[in-house]
Symmetry: C2
DNA sequence: ATTAAAACATGACATTTATCATATTAAAGA
DNA sequence: TCTTTAATATGATAAATGTCATGTTTTAAT
C-alpha cells in the first residue's frame, strides 16, 4: 500500500491540512483503485460512504436529465476529491462519476474522513471552501447556460479545457472528449456541436484532427465567448 | 433591540444549533434592518463581512451576465441566511440580493458568526449542509437549463413557486414576480415568457389577473414540466 | 485483416426562441 | 386628476437550434 504522506497530489486537495500522524493513519484506512477509461466510479443515487481522492486521471461528473440525456456538470482531475458533498449532506451522490482516461484513485471511508473533519479544523475548512467554490462555479455556469448562445458556450468551453487541463506536445487539448461529451457540457445537440466545431475550423479558430482539437486563435475565441 | 432567543425564524436556519448563551450574545451583536421592496441588500462584488438572517420577506439573488441581463439564481425567504458562501470563502459576494417585498433582516458581523462557527460544531455543520443543499440544487438547475425547453422550465418554475412559497387566500401565488423577473428565472426573453403565460392561460392551466397567477391545473403543469 | 459498430459529418427541414415593432394597460408622480 | 412612464401583450419576422436522414470515417471486435 502506497503511503499518503509521500503522495504528491495530497498537496493539491483539502487533505494538505492533515498532520503527519493523520496521514499515516490515512494510509492504513484508504484503498487504492485503478479505473479504466469509460468505467464508472460511482453512479447517481448510489450510497458511496466515503470520498475518492484522485491520484491520476480525469473524470466527468454527469447527471441524467428528464429527457434521458446525460449532462456533464463538471470535470475533475488529479488532486481533487470526489463525493464530499454527498458525505456532508449524508445523502446518496447526486452525480455519476465516469473516467475519461485511465485513473488511479484512493477511497477513504466516511468514518475516517469524518474523524479528521471533526478534529482538524483546517481540514474541514478546506473542504468547505472547496464546496463553496463549486457553488460559485455552478452559479456562473447556470447564468451562462441561461444567457449565452451555443456558439458562445462552445468557445468558452474550449478555452476552459485549454486553461484548466493544458495541452499535449502537439498543442492539442489534453482532455479528449467525444463530440457527444462536448455537446453535453455545453448543453446542446451533438449535431449542433459538430457543426459549430466545423465552423470554428473553417474560420481558422481551431484545428481538428480526429478527436484532437488545437486552439489556433485563442483571442478570437475569447471574443466569441464574450 | 429584539431578542434572538425569542425569534421564531431562528428555528428554520442553521442558527437553531446555537445555545441559549450564544443566542443572548447574538442579540447584542446583530443589527436589525427594514428593507423596502426593490431595495438592494448587497450587490455582486461587494464585501459584505457578515451574514443576513431573513426574519420576514422574500428576496432574489441575481447575477449579471455578460450580455448585461440579470439572471435570478435563487429566491430566498424568511428563516434563511444570506452571504454564507462568501463568508466562508472569504471573498466578495458573487450575487446581488434585492428585496421582492418589504423585508425585515438582521445582520450578524462575520467575526461573531465565525466565533460560533469555530466553537459550535452543530452550527458549522448546519451551515455546511445548507451550502451542500444549494450546490445540489444548482446542479439540478443547471441540467434543467441545459436540457429542458422554455415551456418546460416555465411550468416547472410555476410549480416550484407554488410549492415553495405557497398561495394567498385568493389562490394566487404568494411571490409576485414581474414577467421580466419570471423570464430571468427560467432564462428566456421577457416576450417569450409573456407569450407562454398567455398560452398556458388559453389552455386553462393558469389564470392571470394582473401580476397575480393562479395555478388551475397543477397536474397538467407537472406533465408539461416532465 | 475483415467486419460490425460506433463516432463523426453534413444536408434538409422543422421547431423553438429571440428580436423588433407597436398597441394596450397599469402604475406612479406631479 | 392628469400625465408620464413602465409593464404587459401580441404580431411579424429573423435567427438559432433541434431533428431526421444519410453518408463517411474511425474504432473495436472477431
Amino acid at each position: 500500500m502506497s503511503k499518503c504522506e509521500q503522495c504528491i497530489v495530497r498537496e493539491f486537495s483539502s487533505l494538505k491540512a492533515l498532520t503527519k500522524e493523520e496521514l499515516l493513519k490515512l494510509s492504513d484506512c484508504k484503498t487504492s483503485h485503478i479505473i479504466k477509461k469509460g468505467e464508472v466510479i460511482f453512479e447517481e443515487g448510489e450510497n458511496v460512504n466515503g470520498i475518492f481522492c484522485i491520484k491520476d486521471g480525469i473524470c466527468k461528473l454527469t447527471k441524467l436529465s428528464a429527457n434521458g440525456k446525460d449532462h456533464i456538470v463538471k470535470l475533475v482531475t488529479k488532486g481533487e476529491l470526489l463525493g464530499q458533498r454527498s458525505m456532508i449532506s449524508d445523502e446518496p451522490v447526486n452525480l455519476s462519476a465516469v473516467a475519461l482516461e485511465d485513473m488511479h484513485v484512493c477511497f477513504i471511508p466516511k468514518a475516517d474522513v469524518m474523524g479528521y473533519f471533526d478534529k482538524n479544523n483546517q481540514f474541514s475548512m478546506n473542504v468547505m471552501k472547496t464546496i463553496c467554490g463549486d457553488l460559485k462555479e455552478a452559479d456562473d455556469h447556470m447564468v451562462n447556460l441561461a444567457q449565452k448562445t451555443v456558439k458562445e458556450r462552445l468557445a468558452e468551453t474550449l478555452l476552459y479545457l485549454h486553461d484548466t487541463f493544458g495541452k499535449n506536445e502537439d498543442e492539442s487539448l489534453k482532455v479528449q472528449l467525444s463530440r457527444d461529451e462536448l455537446a453535453s457540457i455545453i448543453g446542446t445537440a451533438t449535431e449542433s456541436c459538430i457543426r459549430l466545431l466545423s465552423d470554428f475550423k473553417k474560420s481558422g479558430l481551431i484545428e481538428l484532427t480526429g478527436k484532437k482539437i488545437v486552439l489556433k486563435d485563442s483571442n478570437a475565441l475569447k471574443k466569441l465567448a464574450d
